[in-house]
């Protein structure tokens, strides 16, 4: 059973546009929601993360929006750049132990 559902599977955005990737979860015990960025041939790298006690977290051009009641969270990439082209994974964890990953979104930013 997929603990974290992620959409869309792939996304094409023009340079300068906003990229939005969505995730949903069911387990209310999850208390940590990270996003990972993975370039081809590399391991996932932590991009930004949020706890459920806040509704939004922003780091540079990357923002996580969190809706606890809907059990959804999303990644917004503002002013998307070709260098942002990568696969993005959302994840969820309870107390920092086992992590459950979404199925990934392949983002392509067109110059």
């Amino acid at each position: 059973q997929q603990q974290v559902k992620q959409s869309p599977q792939s996304l094409i955005v023009q340079k300068g546009g906003i990229s939005i990737i969505n995730c949903a979860y069911e387990n209310t015990a999850f208390d940590y929601f990270p996003w990972y960025q993975q370039f081809p041939g590399k391991g996932p790298a932590l991009l930004i993360a949020i706890r459920p006690d806040v509704s939004e977290k922003k780091e540079g051009r990357f923002t996580i929006s969190f809706n606890k009641s809907a059990k959804q969270f999303s990644l917004h990439i503002m002013d998307s750049q070709p260098g942002d082209s990568a696969t993005y994974f959302c994840a969820a964890s309870s107390e920092g132990n086992q992590f459950y990953f979404g199925t990934g979104t392949s983002l392509t930013v067109i110059p």
Partner: protein, 113 residues
């Protein structure tokens, strides 16, 4: 300096063989993990070790056996390789068992023919 390193980066072998993948972290972390990423890029945890002790052992065939000689190393040995074992295997580490931030290695692409 590479924080989490894996060897080899690529591994091509035939069905039935036994192979090992090595992982080392120089971050001083206590917890290490093995993940499997399939052809659809789905990432799933296989094992987790904390201070050389097995913490998580997901539903993984017995042919897979992790070994942690010390806190900085977590190796993965696979017996009797099958076609379905073809995937990218990632090692990761975190500061402690309840530490949220995980650092991933570059991955080992295993191809079983």
């Amino acid at each position: 300096d590479t924080a989490v390193s894996q060897t080899p980066k690529y591994l091509v072998t035939q069905m039935g063989n036994d192979k090992s993948i090595k992982c080392e972290q120089n971050l001083g972390h206590d917890t290490m993990y093995w993940y499997k990423q399939d052809s659809k890029k789905f990432l799933k945890i296989m094992f987790s070790y904390n201070n050389k002790e097995l913490i998580i052992n997901e539903t993984v065939p017995n042919r897979f056996s992790p070994k942690s000689p010390d806190k900085a190393h977590l190796n993965l040995h696979i017996n009797s390789l099958e076609l379905g074992d073809s995937a990218v295997y990632f090692c990761a580490s975190s500061q402690g068992w309840l530490s949220y931030e995980q650092y991933f290695g570059p991955g080992t692409r295993l191809t079983v023919t």
